[in-house]
């Protein structure tokens, strides 16, 4: 392979995986029995032996990898781009033409020696020819050598402005990172032991259960996946019409049926949709347990809030939800409450995690199933209409003007109910 002079030969990153693989493909292409048909190609008045045509290369690749001609052409083009096959015409552009244009394989003696013994005869033949050419300087051979060299330089020193196929981006595996790896201190081994101990104790779920889960998840969500099942009235990117986005805006008067259905998939999906969450809050209000969701939201705000706000937020949550006689007291089991109050002495952003999880599970196992059976939810599901696909436009030439939408950065930030201010009336307690 055309070696890159910039890289030291012994460098561990010199042989990238994709280069090794390309070499394997090219070597099998040169197999005398299974490889691409070799023949002598006529180049103007000279005859070049052991050449192949672009068309044969494409067909061989298509057959070998069972791919379309388009993909085989692409793969062949990549091999030419990297100099593994070089053209015997127009050597300035490394392009693969799927016609009678002749090509030859670049030579790589040492690697072929090591790996493939059945190509040895071919290599010997080429070597003898090179030796003869050096002695006799036949025109055909001189042309071949000239084209070979030109291709080598095109790959390794591309003209200014042309992209280099050998460029790899910023260097990886630098000294700093290996320094991280090299310092196997006591700390490193302590972590390793701890990790292994936890790994041994971890419960693993049976593969059969896990694998079935993918099938049911994809099955359930398939109709909601625009790229798999399409979307009504149309995919905005394809039709240039943003109606789909307008209909599914975060706050819209009438949510679509698909959207309301998704709230029934899991508690997480319900909470993720601001509209779903709002309807759930209404439902909880009717059951006088709205403080649970408010508490959960306040905990989220603490977990993901600014570091400087942590003490204030913790205090506000305590005053409103956890303190004895608090305005919106949440019902947590005594053990969790004890641990939480203990932790509040040294508040940090995760201090309410246990309490938050308890309330979350309560809502998920108790309130959520009842919400799905409630009149509120059933009503929304029934109201949500099913849409018809927009009729085809009569005049296909008219381009719809693509409506712009205001950037979120322009909109005034919505005022969220915080733990400190507390919304009124959610659970009926003043």
């Amino acid at each position: 392979m055309a070696a890159d002079p910039a890289r030291p030969p012994g460098s561990p990153r010199a042989q990238m995986p994709h280069l090794r693989k390309m070499e394997r493909v090219v070597v099998s292409m040169q197999d005398p029995d299974q490889g691409v048909k070799m023949r002598s190609q006529r180049l103007l008045v000279t005859v070049i032996p052991h050449a192949v045509t672009g068309r044969d290369v494409v067909q061989w690749l298509a057959q070998k990898f069972c791919v379309s001609e388009e993909e085989a052409l692409h793969l062949g083009a990549v091999l030419v781009l990297h100099g593994y096959i070089y053209p015997l015409r127009d050597p300035r552009s490394l392009v693969l033409r799927p016609d009678e244009t002749p090509y030859r394989f670049q030579e790589c003696y040492d690697r072929l020696h090591k790996k493939i013994s059945h190509v040895w005869d071919l290599v010997l033949m080429q070597a003898r020819e090179q030796l003869r050419a050096a002695k006799q300087r036949r025109k055909g051979d001189r042309l071949v050598i000239a084209f070979q060299e030109q291709t080598y330089w095109l790959v390794n020193r591309p003209p200014p402005g042309a992209p280099s196929v050998l460029e790899q981006g910023p260097e990886r595996g630098s000294r700093t990172a290996s320094h991280v790896h090299m310092t196997k201190s006591a700390d490193f081994y302590t972590r390793e032991i701890e990790y292994c101990r936890r790994a041994l104790g971890r419960t693993r779920v049976k593969s059969s259960v896990c694998l079935e889960a993918y099938l049911s998840f994809c099955d359930q969500h398939g109709p909601h996946d625009p790229l798999v099942s399409g979307c009504l009235p149309s995919n905005p990117w394809i039709s240039d019409d943003d109606a789909y986005w307008v209909m599914n805006a975060p706050t819209v008067a009438a949510p679509t049926k698909l959207r309301v259905e998704r709230w029934g998939f899991s508690f997480k999906e319900l909470l993720e949709d601001p509209m779903g969450r709002a309807h759930f809050m209404d439902f909880l209000g009717k059951e006088f347990s709205g403080e649970n969701l408010s508490f959960w939201e306040a905990c989220e705000e603490l977990r993901y809030g600014a570091q400087a706000q942590v003490p204030t937020l913790v205090d506000a949550v305590y005053q409103q939800f956890l303190a004895p006689g608090a305005a919106r007291w949440v019902n947590i089991d005594s053990r969790t409450m004890e641990r939480t109050l203990e932790g509040l002495r040294q508040p940090h952003r995760y201090v309410l995690d246990a309490a938050q999880l308890h309330i979350y599970m309560l809502m998920k196992k108790d309130s959520y199933p009842r919400f799905l059976k409630s009149d509120i939810y059933r009503g929304l599901l029934a109201e949500a209409g099913i849409l018809l696909e927009t009729k085809r436009r009569v005049f296909p030439f008219t381009r719809r003007p693509r409506r712009s939408s205001p950037s979120p950065a322009l909109l005034p930030t919505p005022v969220e109910p915080t733990a400190a201010s507390g919304p009124a009336g959610g659970d009926g307690v003043a």
């Binding site: 990886r172 700093t176 990172a177 991280v180 790229l227 905005p236 986005w245 570091q307």
Partner: protein, 320 residues
């Protein structure tokens, strides 16, 4: 004998013919596009490139809305804040900086820049958590870190990778507090954000892991690597359950993402193509041509109506 996903999925109906085309081409970067991210409004994106330019586009109309030039080259990471009011980016400057987005013509975006993260090597990936106030970063110095945006304080650091960390993704779980990272040590590691400890690690790839992305249910994640394969790792079974590879695919996968239902896996490769995989059956559903240099970044839009790819050919394309 452990079965893999493709065996179990044999009874699933095969997907029909897929026709996906480039629906938008975003031209404006003067050099290789290295990273991009979607805004929650499902149409805006931020992209960064080798020459230090970071651009915010409304990709539906293809209008550029903001542009800022970083004082460094190779801006390999960029992210959109959940509120849509700020962006984060970084690269060879070893930092992650946050820029509030302003439409005020008198204000210079670069003037309001906040320097948040400091690593000892290049920044390879960054992501906001559930709010604008925390950022998670991955770096060539072999570590990941969680930062408080307002103060720039380091909240937690994650040590364990034996080489450069190249990518990360936050778990979409309901009690969420984990994320996965992939690196040059061929390992994908799952971390607990609270304790900084590595919870699970997977090492089956044969080369650098360039991209990791969670399956929508949060129970698994996919990875793309220089070994030309993409793999699916199940967190509950604690092992690899699927490989997506083909003999004719020789070049590394630089970037992967799932469609909304997790049925499709889109992967961008260094041979300029994008391959679309049937996640369940393991077959390659479609190959997309169009980019004229390697595909460096790929993300599906938040509502799954399209995906965007960025390339070293200086352009971004939105496909649907």
């Amino acid at each position: 004998m452990c079965r893999n996903l493709h065996q179990v999925a044999e009874r699933v109906e095969a997907l029909g013919q897929f026709v996906m085309k480039t629906r938008r081409t975003l031209k404006g970067h003067g050099n290789k596009v290295l990273c991009m991210d979607w805004c929650k409004d499902k149409r805006r994106i931020v992209s960064s490139s080798q020459d230090g330019k970071v651009i915010v586009w409304d990709s539906f109309t293809t209008n550029k809305e903001h542009a800022v030039t970083m004082p460094c080259t190779w801006v390999m990471a960029c992210a959109y804040a959940p509120s849509g009011c700020a962006i984060a980016c970084g690269g060879l400057d070893n930092k992650c900086s946050v820029y509030p987005l302003t439409f005020d013509k008198n204000e210079n975006m670069a003037a309001k820049k906040k320097s948040v993260a400091m690593h000892t090597n290049y920044l390879s990936a960054c992501s906001f958590t559930n709010s604008d106030m925390q950022i998670l970063t991955a770096s060539g110095d072999g570590t990941c870190a969680l930062w408080d945006v307002e103060s720039g304080q380091l909240l937690q650091s994650f040590h364990g990778h034996g080489a450069d960390v190249l990518c990360l993704d936050l778990a979409p779980s309901e009690t969420g507090n984990t994320f996965v990272s992939g690196g040059c040590d061929k390992k994908a590691m799952v971390w607990d954000m609270r304790s900084g400890q590595c919870v699970q690690a997977f090492e089956t790839h044969e080369s650098d892991i360039n991209s990791v992305r969670y399956y929508p249910s949060g129970d698994a994640f996919a990875s793309g690597s220089d070994d030309a394969t993409c793999r699916l790792y199940d967190l509950r079974a604690d092992r690899e359950v699927a490989i997506y590879s083909k003999e004719s695919i020789i070049f590394g996968a630089s970037s992967v993402d799932f469609s909304l239902s997790g049925r499709l896996l889109f992967a961008g490769y260094n041979d300029y193509t994008i391959n679309v995989w049937d996640v369940l059956k393991g077959s390659r559903v479609s190959i997309l041509f169009g980019h004229e240099n390697r595909v460096s970044t790929l993300r599906v839009s938040p509502d799954g109506t399209a995906f965007c790819s960025g390339s070293w050919d200086h352009t971004l394309r939105v496909w649907a």
